[in-house]
């Protein structure tokens, strides 16, 4: 598959809209510049998510005498809103993006600041703003997008001002690091370890996409590793984070405390086997044993009720999504490439981290599985991200 990336863009891509073989002209026009596999994989993940969220909440809702489909409907509603946001974002042009970039970045910073002022603590992280009537937003979800777009604009503008096309200057990189450090620092303080990791991954993707010299990337990775070691040794992590980390390493250490979630998710996944127990037939899921199963542990529903087959489909869909994102990056100009690689790194790492913690591979960090987990904030931010990828693609096709 890596050959696809090294091919010249557009010309050989079978789905490139510049090809005239399409039979349906109106559709072709409407989807002109759209990467359909990207849309379909995101939509498929969202619909699978709807079913899994439904399965995860049905039992509890029934026992509580509530509508067993309540979460299903809300998830579908979120998905629809995300679709609208995607279409809107895909219409963004280069000029608007230049304006939007700094605006989104600043808005996400304000959102994170608001968390400190009026935020609520949910599951140990002070990361939420409760709007009332059951609605709450998690600004760190939007911060990921704001950071990627903001950085893209920063690098492009600086390069354009200098009028050169080479690797970003050292001063650009240092400025970018400041821009990265502000939201990351705030997320660290919330403290939201999961979002910190994903923000870091997205920022790293941006740097790679911007084509900074290898010594920067390697140096930053080394620095991150060193800081992480120091943070653990110096006790900078909150006790609940350390507990999650140690229980990830020793799942039987504290079976009713932090390790409970991991153990229960593990049982659900093990129940699944090759093909799963079938929809609504998972005892672990129906019994409600896995806490947060409709959000952070939604993957364990797929694991129990659809088995390894279901898990493979989900992982494959994420692989397709990231592949198409990288294809778009390959075609795009500097700004588009930065956005695309940033988003791909964000999605890839968030999916890996979430599925990994379900599988007992990574520590529990409270990150949703993109499109699949129940939750509005992340779904909307991800819809916007897919839309931006489409915009990047449309702009690069148009300029090709």
């Amino acid at each position: 598959m890596s050959t696809v990336l090294t091919r010249p863009p557009a010309a050989r891509d079978p789905r490139a809209p510049v090809e005239t073989a399409s039979l349906s002209l109106p559709l072709r026009r409407r989807t002109r510049g759209y990467d359909l596999p990207l849309v379909w994989s995101a939509l498929a993940l969202g619909l699978i998510g709807a079913v899994l969220v439904w399965a995860a909440t049905r039992g509890i809702q029934l026992r509580a005498g509530a509508d067993p489909q309540a979460y299903l409907y809300r998830h579908l509603f979120n998905l629809t809103v995300a679709g609208v946001l995607m279409v809107a974002a895909s219409r963004v042009n280069a000029r608007l993006l230049r304006l939007l970039g700094p605006a989104m970045y600043v808005a996400s910073l304000l959102g994170l600041l608001a968390v400190f002022a009026v935020g609520s603590t949910i599951n140990g992280a002070h990361a939420w703003i409760v709007l009332g009537a059951g609605f709450q937003v998690q600004p760190s979800e939007f911060a990921k997008l704001g950071l990627v777009v903001g950085l893209a604009v920063l690098f492009t503008e600086r390069a354009a001002r200098r009028g050169e096309d080479g690797a970003p200057a050292g001063s650009d990189v240092l400025l970018a690091l400041v821009v990265i450090a502000v939201p990351m620092g705030m997320v660290v303080l919330e403290p939201d370890l999961g979002s910190t990791i994903v923000l870091g991954a997205a920022a790293l993707g941006v740097l790679v996409g911007a084509g900074v010299r290898a010594r920067w990337t390697v140096g930053l990775i080394a620095l991150t590793a060193a800081v992480s070691v120091v943070a653990v040794k110096a006790g900078l992590l909150a006790p609940y984070q350390l507990a999650r980390f140690t229980s990830f390493l020793h799942p039987n250490h504290d079976p009713l405390g932090a390790a409970y979630n991991i153990n229960q998710a593990h049982i659900a996944l093990a129940n699944g086997g090759w093909f799963g127990t079938g929809l609504f037939a998972g005892p672990q899921t129906n019994g409600g044993y896995v806490p947060e199963q409709q959000t952070d542990f939604v993957f364990s529903v797929a694991g129990e009720e659809f088995g390894l087959l279901g898990c493979t489909v989900i992982i494959a869909l994420f692989a397709v999504l990231c592949w198409r994102g990288l294809v778009i990056a390959r075609m795009a100009n500097r700004a588009g490439r930065i956005v695309a690689v940033g988003i791909v790194c964000w999605f890839a790492l968030q999916a890996f981290q979430n599925i990994g913690m379900n599988l007992g591979l990574t520590p529990v960090t409270g990150l949703p599985l993109p499109f699949v987990s129940y939750g509005g904030s992340s779904m909307f931010a991800q819809g916007l991200a897919i839309g931006l990828l489409q915009a990047v693609r449309r702009l690069s096709v148009a300029s090709a």
Partner: protein
């Protein structure tokens, strides 16, 4: 390539990103394959799909009743206010309004209430709810009537708040017999660890009979069993197992006699205090010398056991344990040990007669003072009585009479030691046979019973070995923190003697022991046991307060009987002689008769005074009495009751303990009105204990 890369960086890096991303997803696939299919030790759910939760319904404790079935500890019902946390959180405002309304009724704040009902966890610090998360949390146990009415009348304002009736111990006679009844407390973490059958909501006996018979009195807790979801929420009403109240403990305590004794004790102490004596504490023990049952144990100062119900407040506990409070929690009768003074002469006389060191007919000197190893020891007030026999030595309580044989016994032992033999130490041996140095084995916790003490060569040596360095250090430093110079000089001299000669047991020590001084101590209960042996044929009894355990249907589950520890080797004739020597019918010839001259029952009782000297304090006043006297088939002296009285720092035995016990004897003998115990004898028949009325909840 290198040139191109420098000119157009970016695209060539994408394969690296792709490879990284692809490897992440490949890792997930491999891990999923292992977890879901290949792992040979897949975990399985062991919790079962549903399980039950238990809300403990504590059993009411059993009653403690007196020898006629009158309750000394009973149960009262109190209204407990509870909050159901699940119901509270289900309110639209998560119960904020309810807590706001409830808090002022309970004299607390909504925030405090919210903390109290939050289940404890690593993230939630005390105060928090230590019980099961689904169980209603008690927020007030003895709620005011006002609060209970406000909640009961406005149920709609207090959703999730419930009233439930709980039973709590109640003491209908207040402080009466507080030390022997003991107090109860709420079960704590240490209790739960020691006995897993206990529940948080249980009351547990902490001291006295409540503690000793806790397993009998506790009953069996009931439970409300709730089906629970895996999240721990109750999913239905479940079912209820009713608690079973604990059995009733019938004691041999006689309520009216106990009341009279406590009153007389308090009256005497008040009178002595009025006369300018400290009279810090006192005790009365009355026992049936034939059966070994205890009828009265009174101790002064005392406390109110109801302070401990539902947990004693810090302020109340501080008050009880303050240095100025004179330790009201300590039972002087059982846990206190004091020099018995001349009351010990029963044991000395028994020992001397048994080993033929003196006889009942010969006369021996009773000078004003004797010199033993150069130390002058005097009679009380240096009284000189010339040559007298044992009868008068006991009656007039001559000390010097006993010094001489005790010193001679000591010298004989020293000669045996010099000859390489073991010393006889008959006096110590006899004291030990009478129970001195061993806890009496009453049915209260072992830690509440004093053993008493005496000195001998071995004990001296062992203590000196352990304490030598401390004595020498004290002798050297000279007690700098003792203010009184006289006291300081005395203590320093004592420490200096102990440092060099502390191991040595002197002839004077043996003489001191003969008159119940020196290191000889006994509790009032031990003295009562010793005098009981004198009038029951020499039987040393393990006395009992408990008489029977009766179940809820009024059936006797078991009777509790005193145990005969040993029968003294003292000849019965000698015991008769001692008892007769001390009969109050001998009038002025018996020191203890002082307060009883002219009373209608004077010759029906006997008694021995004790006036024990305590360094730096006023004398401890003792009187051990027995009566009404009768004779068994062989003409041996017997008595229905043995009564021991003691007041510290109050003066002579005849002038303090004497009048105190006389008021009680007047009541027993029926001097004014009917005798308090029918037939002037301890009860012998168990009372009918009516079946207990079920406590509704």
């Amino acid at each position: 390539m290198p040139d191109r890369r420098r000119l157009r960086p970016g695209p060539p890096r994408l394969p690296i990103v792709f490879t990284l991303v692809a490897s992440l997803f490949a890792t997930l696939l491999v891990r999923a394959l292992w977890v879901q299919v290949l792992d040979p030790h897949k975990p399985v759910q062991t919790a079962g799909l549903t399980h039950d939760g238990r809300i403990v319904l504590p059993a009411p404790r059993g009653l403690i009743v007196d020898a006629s079935g009158r309750p000394l500890v009973q149960n009262t019902s109190a209204q407990q206010i509870t909050i159901d946390r699940e119901q509270l959180l289900a309110q639209p405002d998560h119960g904020t309004a309810v807590l706001d309304r409830l808090a002022p009724l309970l004299g607390t704040t909504p925030a405090q209430l919210a903390r109290e009902i939050t289940p404890c966890s690593p993230k939630v610090a005390a105060p928090c709810w230590t019980g099961e998360p689904y169980a209603p949390v008690p927020v007030a146990t003895q709620a005011s009537t006002q609060a209970v009415l406000a909640i009961a009348e406005h149920r709609e304002d207090f959703p999730a708040v419930a009233l439930r009736t709980v039973t709590l111990p109640e003491y209908p006679y207040g402080t009466l017999a507080a030390h022997v009844l003991g107090y109860t407390g709420q079960v704590n973490a240490a209790d739960l660890k020691a006995d897993p059958a206990l529940a948080d909501a249980d009351q547990i006996g902490r001291t006295g009979l409540e503690a000793y018979y806790d397993s009998v009195l506790r009953g069996t807790d009931g439970a409300q069993v709730l089906p629970l979801s895996p999240q721990g929420y109750a999913t239905g009403p479940g079912y209820t197992v009713a608690p079973v109240q604990g059995d009733t403990l019938v004691t041999s305590i006689d309520l009216p006699l106990q009341q009279i004794a406590e009153q007389s004790l308090a009256q005497e102490i008040a009178a002595k205090r009025k006369a300018g004596k400290p009279a810090t504490s006192g005790a009365v023990v009355i026992m049936d010398p034939q059966s070994g049952r205890i009828l009265v144990i009174a101790s002064y100062p005392t406390y109110d056991p109801s302070l401990f119900v539902g947990g004693i407040s810090n302020a109340d506990y501080a008050k009880l344990t303050a240095p100025t409070a004179d330790d009201p929690l300590l039972s002087r009768a059982i846990a206190g040990q004091y020099a018995p003074g001349s009351t010990f002469k029963l044991i000395t006389s028994s020992s001397l007669l048994m080993h033929n060191e003196i006889n009942t007919t010969s006369r021996y000197p009773c000078p004003g003072s004797v010199s033993i190893d150069g130390r002058v020891k005097t009679n009380y007030d240096s009284e000189v009585l010339g040559n007298i026999n044992l009868e008068n030595a006991l009656g007039y309580s001559c000390d010097t009479f006993f010094y001489v044989p005790a010193a001679n016994e000591y010298y004989a032992d020293q000669r045996r030691i010099a000859a390489g033999q073991k010393p006889d130490e008959w006096l110590q041996q006899t004291a030990s046979l009478f129970g001195v140095g061993t806890a009496p084995g009453l049915d209260v916790p072992a830690g509440e019973q004093a053993s008493g003490s005496y000195a001998d060569r071995e004990i001296r040596q062992a203590r000196w070995d352990a304490m030598k360095s401390q004595y020498c250090a004290q002798a050297k430093s000279g007690y700098p923190d003792v203010a009184d110079p006289g006291q300081r000089a005395y203590l320093t001299l004592l420490a200096s003697q102990n440092c060099t000669d502390g191991w040595r047991y002197h002839a004077g020590d043996n003489a001191d022991m003969a008159i119940g001084q020196g290191e000889t101590t006994m509790s009032p209960l031990q003295l009562a046991i010793a005098y009981s042996a004198m009038v029951n044929g020499g039987r040393i009894l393990e006395p009992r307060l408990g008489w029977a355990v009766v179940d809820g249907a009024g059936r006797v589950v078991r009777t509790i009987d005193p145990v005969v520890r040993r029968t003294l080797p003292v000849p019965q004739a000698d015991l008769n002689f001692i008892a007769n020597s001390l009969n109050f019918g001998r009038g002025w010839a018996v020191s203890g008769a002082f307060a009883y001259i002219g009373s209608p029952y004077q010759s029906q009782i006997g008694g021995k005074t004790g006036t024990a000297e305590v360094v730096g304090k006023l004398d401890t006043s003792w009187l051990a009495t027995w009566g009404p006297i009768y004779h068994d088939g062989s003409g041996n002296v017997r008595a229905k009751f043995v009564m021991v009285g003691m007041i510290t720092q109050a003066g002579t035995g005849a002038t303090a303990a004497g009048p105190m016990l006389k008021r009680i004897w007047d009541a027993i003998m029926g001097v004014a009105g009917a005798p308090v115990l029918p037939g002037i004898a301890p009860p012998t028949k168990l009372p009918d204990v009516r079946p207990q009325v079920a406590v509704s909840r």
